[in-house]
Symmetry: C2
Subunit: 336 residues, 2 copies
Amino acid sequence: MTTLRDVARHAGVSIGSVSTVINNTAPVSPALRAKVLLAIDELGYVPDAVARSLKMGRTRTIGLILPDITNPHFAAIAGAIEIACDAAGYSLLLCNTMDNPTKELRDLRLMRTQRVDGVILVPGVGDGDYIGELNRAVSVPIVLIDRTLPGLDFDAVVLDNRAASHGLVDYFVRSGHRRIGIVIGPPGISIAKQRLEGYLQALADHDIDVEPAYIAHGGFQPEPDYHATAGLLALRRRPTAIMSTSYHTTIGVMKALLDKGFRCPNDISVAGIDDFVWATAFSPKMTVMAQPIADMARHAAQRLFGRISGAITGPAEVLVSPPTLLVRESTRPLVD
Amino acid sequence: MTTLRDVARHAGVSIGSVSTVINNTAPVSPALRAKVLLAIDELGYVPDAVARSLKMGRTRTIGLILPDITNPHFAAIAGAIEIACDAAGYSLLLCNTMDNPTKELRDLRLMRTQRVDGVILVPGVGDGDYIGELNRAVSVPIVLIDRTLPGLDFDAVVLDNRAASHGLVDYFVRSGHRRIGIVIGPPGISIAKQRLEGYLQALADHDIDVEPAYIAHGGFQPEPDYHATAGLLALRRRPTAIMSTSYHTTIGVMKALLDKGFRCPNDISVAGIDDFVWATAFSPKMTVMAQPIADMARHAAQRLFGRISGAITGPAEVLVSPPTLLVRESTRPLVD
DNA sequence: TAGCGTCTCTGAAACGTTTCGGAGCAACTT
DNA sequence: AAGTTGCTCCGAAACGTTTCAGAGACGCTA
């Protein structure tokens, strides 16, 4: 590995001068610059970010901690953040928690030892203990995305989850449905809680009594949500419409319908939260509440960069993004 | 940020002793250990990986460069590699090339300045220039995954692409099809080339003449592959079966069928390469050649770790993994 | 008692940068 | 002619670790 010293020696100048040329942090004579550039080229010198980070006290790296990169929803977040990082000159350290609190804590600590300049975090189900650890664990700016945490003032950018499920219920009701089921995730996760609240509020707004059996708890995973849906379908008076509350949930729901022999939308209407490229490639094309996921991720990244640079100060802000209803073919008006 | 020095001072011992305790790299008295551990705890000291990396000459970080994390196929790779890294005590630096050679080169260089210990790379369409740069750009072990590069001896783990498309054609022929179309990606990418070869070879093996019009070139992206498929469907004597050669391609193909009013498999059979969770959640459930993607990724990671540690030496090896045919409902025997 | 291992621990050098006080020199001002 | 200013460039300190030669203390043997 060739170092600054090698370049300096080869060019016959001082180490400091080479550094100045590389970062052009001060005016230098054309002659010096030429000599240095030539030496760099001849030796194939590449600066050492590790040494640089040590000296500068910052790594130009941010950490991204999310539950599961395999989930297209989080992959979309990761993709948008990577682009933002690239544009801003940051590197990206990726961690997958698998919704495992222990792993999440480990990842958080990793961020600390790795001295990242900031963290973008999709928090999992953290108990009080976890939140304390979180506050302690990281001494750099954090911005939350997608999910949020109670009693924590971090910058955050999230979907208007209540509006999303409220809107879905509204749409169902407008189409004549009144027996509306929901497949929802674990209540420990903020979005599950909020999406359920939106559902309940919407029913109340439409003067529809809540039927507890219509609320099926899954796990935001295809498998448990499949079974949750199966439960809904086995009901004597089953719902005429089901709302799915996440990408993975939608897979579970649709799989259950297919396996149990229900046609969608003929026998039952389904709408979900989260859009995806293949939502229009198969039958039925899915009616969904789409979230501006790329924008949200971009915004989270910008906010983090602002915090890091000090351009943004002041109290934490949470940006709530509005969802968009995309009516397609998995839903239809209820005709008696 | 509290340092080793702070801990040492607080515990009333030398810096070196603290280091030895932390890494227990030499025997120390119980008393010393206790004092140090207490001080670490009281000060909330966290070791600085940057300084450590500088001193040790390695970062315990590997780089992952792939075309598009948003593509579930690559996301699956990333997920499996993250798990392997976590288990082996490595951090993961993620880069998205978007199949842009310029960006890919930039990412490669980033790996070098970041002093990662190794790189796992899904190479894009690189010309000769690129390969030279690649060799020069990185001085650490590289292992290729998914795609490969001509005239480059890096460790690699790839699918048996010829067998995958050959097997798909075999299956179609066994089902009575003889007019078999293919939607294929850009020939610059190794897997596109190999998958096309498998297709051609299989046709030859079955004594079926190649119909050039049945070979539709897309881009391994939903959009161009949609149009490529539309071209196939507009043929006077259109294929009775279409094989899709990637995840994104399958989306394009199925979307085209849906939009153009063809029912699958009734009007036309479709089978693809790459399985995905939602392949069984919608209609039709897709017949696919699945690849053992998680195993492949794990293997790539292990191979890289072995190269880094020096446990693996010798010439580059490429591991070719066999695909598995999963017959579902997007294909059916041809009845005349 | 002197010499010698053994066991702990200390202190300093080194990793590759950035940064900054100051040296050297030429061109001005007075 | 002496002093001042401005422009380049140099050299060394510092960032937080790891590592290693060696200092001290202790118990043993001869």
